[in-house]
Subunit: 220 residues, 2 copies
DNA sequence: GTCTATATTGGGATAGAC
DNA sequence: GTCTATCCCAATATAGAC
């Protein structure tokens, strides 16, 4: 593994574990057993490192949230896929969600790219909900689809921050992220067709179980 | 007005206008035409100033969100009262919401007080929704009240942050905060009894109008 | 590519005079 | 209470040898 990649990997790990604001370039270098100067040979500055991580992030989002064909969208297996993807991205890039505004504010170029990805996600999510309406899974009034998807994106984007604010310990657990996923389902629940109650109950039960704190000590 | 109070007022204003992270103690002093040393005569440090602002914040919350008697809760006028109070606190202390995690993380004592107030709010909000259930206004399944109130608090607490992330300009407008209030109603809408459709529509229309950008240029 | 040593910066905070 | 002057510190970033 090239030094440049090792730096990115170490940065992601340390950012996630200790918070981006608490990890300096010196920490990253020390963690890898290289000098600060060496790190600056590979990256212009800290933002440059974050930008590399961000590329992985958007890659992931684009792969995980590509729309599926109409038929498929009605399958609970696909719902699991999407919801798991939400969990995964929240966990894998939690440092980013934990400091979203700081990071975006200090790097306008990154902010612009962020907005572009968010726009794609918004479009895809709205299309998905419309498709689920068509497939008789959901019954969301048309004019509510846009604001509802916005609330859902907002919920996912700031669930990590919310959880950090709710606890004195700066570490977030996997289980609280599953609780976030369960909240997504909660907000959609009133719109599910009654015939889908069974499938919905299965999903809710799953993510609630994953979100119960007792599952956490195992560090699954 | 005593210097100490002037400092707090100036800090709140500058924090709201430029973002807490971008306002140094020197800026505050310069804005008031006093010396940095003078500022430090009145406050141990910057956190100390924020703490004073936070006391105003909690004062406000406690006054605005005290529970009302069961009967009253069914009155649309009371709903307006609560929703306007949400708007007001988001606007008046938007710097705090914009930087919640940074501020809490660097001051554990403040964080503890924050958690205490949040706990009060959670209890009051749950009680309010239960009362609205009783008054035949809402029909929220009992087990959903707690998670739903959590999502609502989360929505309000991070709406400002969300809006900042959604725009390249670091200023937030009053209208986007009204949009946030409208989202609160949106999430509750599925649970409203049908007979209350009229009142609900009035509320939604009001906050949507306030949230429309065309109302903003007037800086109401 | 990697190192050591160091320059730079800027905000937080204090000392001591007035 | 208020001022001026200054210290302190930590993180970012660079210079130049190896």
């Amino acid at each position: 593994m090239k030094t440049k990649d090792r730096i990115v990997a170490a940065a992601l790990q340390l950012f996630n574990e200790r918070g981006e604001a608490n990890v300096t370039t010196n920490h990253i270098a020390a963690h890898l057993g290289i000098s600060p100067g060496n790190l600056y040979y590979h990256f212009r500055n800290k933002n440059d490192i974050i930008h590399c991580i961000f590329l992985q992030y958007t890659d992931h989002l684009r792969k995980s949230f590509t729309p599926v064909s109409g038929q498929e969208s009605a399958s609970p297996a696909v719902w699991f896929h999407y919801l798991d993807a939400i969990y995964y991205v929240m966990w894998e890039f939690r440092f980013f969600y934990a400091n979203l505004n700081d990071i975006l504010q200090r790097d306008p170029a990154l902010h612009q790219q962020y907005l572009a990805v968010q726009q794609e996600l918004a479009v895809n999510l709205q299309a998905l909900l419309r498709e689920l309406n068509n497939q008789q899974v959901l019954a969301i009034p048309d004019e509510e689809i846009e604001p509802l998807t916005e609330v859902l994106r907002m919920l996912v984007s700031f669930w990590v921050s919310y959880q950090l604010a709710q606890s004195l310990t700066p570490r977030i657990s996997q289980s609280v992220l599953y609780q976030g996923v369960a909240r997504v389902l909660l907000l959609l629940k009133p719109y599910f067709h009654l015939e889908k109650g069974r499938e919905l109950a299965t999903l809710m039960a799953h993510y609630q179980a994953m979100g119960s704190t007792s599952s956490d000590p195992f560090h699954k």
